[in-house]
């Protein structure tokens, strides 16, 4: 007789809540009238995320950690990463709720009559909410998945909705659709690499569980292990946009609707780094001599290239895309550190970076002219004069990206570089500070454009943000400020939660 496996529903409950809400969202799409759909969807999304957060708080001290027949491990670090995803998603959903940014009808060909009619009827593509929730659910699963198949499933669950969401921009739709297609094709490639690597690892270890791979290390032909590690890493490095797998990032960041870019930039990083950390800290820890030099080189390349190429960017979204590449390099030094300090620093960094990123993209969404958002930096000149508050907040966020003291970006950088230095990776620290110096140049150039240049006639205006955007941007900015001036609480929590359980 078959006995039902014990799934550990309590541990899974935060994810179940989000997935269930996503399914309900689909039903709402089917049965709900057009008029209230957006409001209902938003309520469901916020409610589910809040509930998931409460549930995460309740399970934070549970002693049992594995669930769903050992395919998921909800340990301390896992809970912290999930909470980070949920908190960032809560802020992001308020930006996404600003329907103004999304196409009225995604199926209508850009420029066609059908599109004009949809716009006229004030149609809304409210499917973004269930898609968003599915993505969040996948992002929550990714960093806690402990076998290769679950990892792959989670990867696809959060990637597929993102491919769609990236193509839903209201304006410059062709650019948006191009971005979505690029993201999908390259993403599919990366997934294939991941799967290929997973097959090799299975062949090497005879098991798909990370713990099993770890204990099998050294027992068989190292070449299989090496190939497996490399290909799995490629899949993950693609998601965090590490060099040389970064080329999709600027195009997608630029083309996607700005709130989606914000969500993607903040939450995908958390999820993908969470999984990367777990895989390397648990699955490949025994084989560190194989991968550490490779990841070190990639980290250095990523931070240097991201910082250097960002200088040449004239579009603010592309610039932040390259800046996110550089930050991925900094974050990789936490992976290379392979220590509890490294993990704690990464957890802090991900939260701090996510908040800053959300606020920055939130503000980009506010800078517009009559045809929509303006992301050309040359037209941002004199913004500080027209709107001192928005200009100052954006300048503060840029300084945080640059890692100037008294911002959360600085504390994160300090924590992660200390961990890397501690573990003996001094080359990464030195490259990191040099890359930061290069990066400072383009952040500061934007500040100059905003404050030190006089506005020209065709420059842009800052729209008055909706209440939702206002809440979202101010919460993210204030949190970013607090974590810069008084980071103790978050740092201590990150340290307390920095344990992966095998």
């Amino acid at each position: 007789m078959l006995t039902a496996p014990s799934l550990g529903y309590l541990l899974l409950s935060p994810m179940i809540i989000v997935f269930a809400a996503a399914v309900i969202g689909v039903l709402v799409e089917a049965f709900m009238g057009k008029t209230h759909r957006a409001a209902v969807q938003l309520t469901i999304s916020i409610g589910a995320l809040l509930l998931a957060l409460v549930q995460l708080w309740r399970i934070r001290d549970l002693s049992s950690t594995t669930a769903a027949v050992n395919s998921v491990t909800i340990d301390k670090a896992g809970i912290f990463l999930q909470a980070t995803v949920v908190v960032l998603a809560l802020i992001a959903v308020l930006l996404i709720a600003d329907q103004e940014n999304f196409t009225a009808q995604a199926s209508a060909v850009p420029g066609s009559n059908e599109e004009a009619v949809a716009l006229l009827q004030k149609n809304q593509q409210t499917e973004i909410f269930p898609l968003f929730l599915f993505a969040v659910g996948g992002m929550m699963l990714f960093p806690v998945a402990t076998d290769l198949i679950t990892l792959f499933v989670a990867l696809e669950v959060f990637s597929l909705p993102l491919y769609l969401l990236a193509g839903l921009s209201r304006r410059r739709r062709l650019l948006s659709q191009e971005a979505a297609l690029k993201y999908f094709l390259l993403g599919a490639y990366a997934s294939a690499f991941f799967l290929f690597g997973a097959a090799f690892l299975y062949g090497y270890a005879g098991t798909i569980s990370l713990v099993g791979i770890s204990s099998a290390a050294g027992s068989a032909n190292e070449v299989f292990l090496l190939i497996g590690i490399i290909f799995v890493s490629i899949g993950l490095l693609f998601k965090i946009s590490a060099v040389p797998f970064h080329s999709w990032t600027p195009d997608v960041y630029q083309g996607a609707p700005t709130p989606i870019t914000a969500f993607m930039a903040a939450c995908t990083k958390v999820a993908a780094f969470g999984a990367l950390l777990r895989i390397f800290y648990i699955g490949f820890a025994e084989a560190q001599t194989i991968w550490q030099p490779i990841i070190t080189v990639i980290a250095i390349l990523t931070m240097v290239l991201g910082s250097v190429v960002a200088i040449a960017q004239r579009d603010v979204k592309r610039m932040l895309a390259y800046s996110s590449i550089a930050h991925a390099g900094f974050l990789l030094s936490g992976v290379v550190a392979l220590s509890k300090d490294g993990l704690a620093a990464s957890l802090f960094y991900l939260m701090a970076y996510g908040l800053t990123t959300l606020a920055a993209f939130g503000i980009i969404g506010l800078v517009r002219d009559s045809t929509g958002e303006v992301t050309d930096l040359n037209r941002w000149v004199g913004l500080g004069k027209k709107s001192p508050l928005v200009g100052s907040v954006f300048a503060f966020l840029l300084l945080s990206f640059a890692g100037i003291p008294l911002t959360s970006g600085f504390i994160g950088k300090f924590a992660i570089f200390s961990a890397a230095y501690q573990s003996g990776n001094i080359a990464i620290v030195v490259s990191g500070v040099l890359a930061s110096a290069i990066a400072a140049f383009f952040y500061i150039r934007v500040i100059i454009m905003i404050f030190f240049t006089d506005p020209v006639n065709d420059s842009v205006s800052v729209i008055i943000p909706s209440v939702k955007s206002k809440i979202s941007i101010s919460v993210a900015t204030v949190a970013s400020l607090i974590f810069g001036v008084a980071p103790s609480w978050l740092l201590t929590s990150a340290t307390n939660f920095a344990t992966f359980i095998k």
Partner: protein
Amino acid sequence: MSLLTLVGALPLVGAALMYFIPSKNIELVKKFALLVTTLVAVASIFLAIGFDKSVTSMQFTQSNSWISAFNINFAVGLDGISLVLILLSTILVPIVVLATWHESDGGRWSVKTFYVLILILETMMIGVFAATDLFLFYVFFEAMLIPVYFLIGGYGSANRSAAAIKFLLYSLFGGLLMLASIIGVYVISGNQIGATFDLTQLATLEIDNQTENFLFLGFFIAFAIKAPLWPFHTWLPDAAKSATPGTSVLLLGVLDKVGTYGMIRFCIELFPDASKTFTPLIITLAVISIIYGAFMAIGQKDIKGLIAFTSISHFGFITMGIFAMTTQGMSGSNLYMVNHGFSTAALFLIAGWMMARRNSSIISDFGGLQRVTPVMAWSFFIAGLSGLALPGLASFVSEFLVLVGTYTRYPVAAIIGTLGIILAALYILIPIQKTLHGPVTPGNEKMTDLNLREKIAIAPVIAIIVVMGFYPKPVLDLINPTSEKVVTNAGFTDPVAEVNK
């Protein structure tokens, strides 16, 4: 809470209170800024009164946990060196506010913003000299760049935004190198005595030679950029030319001192062995700075550029004195920092008034000011003579001490450095002759002399320059014990018996 923290926080509180003053009421904003900065100056004099000269350990200390995860504390304290630098800063700020009353009127942003930035900067200047926690020092060191950046870029002249970004990038680059070294020191402390940023504890670390050399360089390059030492100096002339005279005073008078102060407090105290290794190189750079700065100053056509290059020459003297590793040299350099602060302030403020009246900063546009504006001309004359270290004026004592202190260990460097004094006579006296003496040249006939506000602002500076020239004992009494301690702790003894000061 120690008095030191209160003094440091006062300008910040003032900046916050500025919020309640309507931006349109410009006069009130300025008067309030003057009131706050004067209060700070008075309060800091109480610090000096309460300071016990016989004790060489830190005084007015306070330590509160700030970021417990890294054992970072809000730890401040004073010894003789930091006390005189804080006094320099707090006394200069109200003078600058009073002297440059109209400087902020034509800026990119409001007058209020200007004074808020000045007040924030003052807190950071006090903090950077008071911090006894390495991390806290770094935070002040880097964060103070931001208000200066906005002061240069928002209120300066001509190429202000280019100069501002050059200043910021140079400083950030140095700062980030220092960050790598700070992380290194922190990690090493974690391995040896438990992770800490406390300076006294960090000084006890045993670091192997190679690592120590690299860590030392991280700090030293940051401070050499700040000070600025040849060949890291190229940002300074641009910044000084583009900033308003008031900002330049704070930049050259106070902020650059952070560089030389850092060399003493961090390079020598934390890495005595590496300091020994690099001393010949640094002395060479310092001598080059002295001579190079002097020659460049002689060639300057612009008054602001002239003062900037004389400063590079003077910073060469200060660095030379520090790394001579003798008590006279160390005391002399410390005294020089104070004297240079006041002399440069006088030069820049008066030059600022001259330029504002003539609407030009080119030396050859002026001529015969002695007849038209006697008070302004005399003040400029005295400030200039102090700049060339004329006996009886402030800089002489310190320059003499530096040269004596250096001669006992590095005679050649001291002799070449002495050439700098001769060149100083050239670069000061020629412009003074051109601008002040001789016939009144066209364009200068209607120039007005200093008004009461300007006289009140410059009088204390001139008084300090003269008094410090004749009677530097009160300041030397504050400096000497700490200087001796630094030299002794670094493992040096004076080559000759100590001279009586």
